[in-house]
Symmetry: C2
Subunit: 285 residues, 2 copies
């Protein structure tokens, strides 16, 4: 398979009886070298296991979730793998925000397929997560046909939009502190304006609220949001997702968690719930 | 209290129902500004709680354990605080390894009171952990009289030696991958040779195996060591601790964990056991 060029394992740690692994490969759709991390539960020694994808937020790599979320113990208990990709294409050939801002360019791919120059050549994170990455998992003891997806902040936006666009490919979706409508917040306006151009109609294909309004199939959907999150009012706007769900009757759980902020301390506090949520659909599938 | 000059809370996150806090203060014994981190369980809202000290290893600050070990959920369940100090004095006035090596100087205080120039003015980490830090906790909902201590690698050495020298001050002690005998490994020889001088007799006051041989009171003592740890043979030498314990009849648990390495993935995998171990003595006290 052409997308597996240079696919190699570069790190391995025993963890909660399973294995925390890291891989490097040449991505075809991103045209650059990429890293991703995989937790394999001990159950994978004897059977292909389901997978939950984790999409990280702005400034993260594949490693933040792996070191900070404390997810492995719950993935081990549930017998599921967790696959965490990077948040953008990488490398010196990849263009970045001209001013090196944290909210666009490197570390901020927004899980879209860019159409505008100079971004469109490398910034194809939607296709990377939806198509190329699952194709790489065939050589691991993972069954990519049994998949769920979750993420945080920009990655929560990524998880929601990817699942809503591909409900046949995922059993369930969840998000921590997601950017609920990039059409209606400064982070989203900057990123989609640059990656997709000025025509806001084209942004709707990557806006969770817009996609909810058009959803033909309902997936199990869970969102946790801290009410002490500094980004809630200006960037995340959970109420827009709730309103979109109510308007269309999309059945979902949105939980406001009192006192919690935007950090990995929040994610760690509720990751068990999310993994159990996904596992209940994956293992039943 | 003079040691509380400039004592201020600089960070706070809700975490598993409790609070992950960070403090800055001017240390008298180290003569520099220091940071330390504290997890307070929700139980501390209504009562002073016991404390477990965590001492980190080479190159760490007070933050590594806080972000990577996943300890908060178990501290919340047990109703105990965790206090994590930094691993050395800090600041531009503090001398470092002349070559900037990772295993001596900044990030590598070895939890001793240095006697040799130029180290002795700032490098007093033993007194900082044993005396100054507990004195700072009085303004928090913590009972420093109910304390246990644990650590990793250099910090495992610190926890073992501090507890063995002060068995009246701690209810229990544990270590992950400890440096078991600084007298008998390159890391220890370099650090103690510089901090304490060439007379190896004086090093014995900071060598867990030597202290075990002279212990008058037995503390509950637990050690976990991964058998895939790259530092095991040359630096950590768990077998010396086992032999010292057997020679004196010191009752302790030393567990070799198959396939685990020196990383925080190992610590995270067994931190629940250590917190439950300490809590069983702290809450009974």
């Amino acid at each position: 398979m052409s997308s597996s060029i240079g696919f190699e394992q570069i790190d391995a740690h025993r963890c909660f009886g399973g294995q925390q692994l890291r891989f490097r490969h040449r991505s075809v759709v991103l045209d650059c070298d990429m890293h991703f991390s995989v937790f394999l539960p001990s159950r994978s020694a004897s059977a292909k296991v389901p997978v939950i994808y984790w999409l990280s937020g702005l400034t993260c790599t594949d490693e933040n979730f792996v070191t900070k979320a404390g997810a492995q113990q719950f993935a081990e208990a549930a017998g599921v793998a967790i696959v965490a990709p990077d948040t953008s294409p990488r490398g010196e050939a990849v263009p970045d925000d001209p001013e090196g801002a944290y909210d666009f360019g490197l570390g901020a791919g927004f899980y879209v397929d860019a159409t505008e120059a100079p971004w469109q050549h490398h910034y194809q994170m939607y296709s990377y997560v939806v198509e190329e990455l699952p194709g790489l998992l065939g050589s691991l003891p993972i069954n990519p046909a049994q998949a769920s997806i979750m993420g945080h902040s920009m990655g929560g936006h990524g998880a929601l939009t990817i699942a809503l666009k591909n409900p046949q490919a995922y059993q369930s979706v969840s998000a921590f502190s997601p950017i609920c409508s990039p059409l209606q917040c400064p982070w989203g306006e900057k990123a989609l304006g640059n990656y997709l151009g000025a025509d806001r109609e084209r942004w709707k294909a990557y806006d969770a609220c817009e996609l909810l309004a058009r959803a033909e199939k309902t997936l199990p959907l869970l969102v946790d949001q801290g009410d002490a999150d500094n980004f809630l009012t200006e960037q995340l706007k959970t109420e827009l997702l709730v309103q979109a769900g109510q308007a269309t009757g999309y059945d979902m759980q949105v939980r406001m968690q009192p006192g919690y902020d935007h950090s990995y301390f929040f994610i760690a506090s509720f990751i068990e719930d999310h993994i159990r949520f996904h596992a209940s659909y994956l293992n039943a599938g």
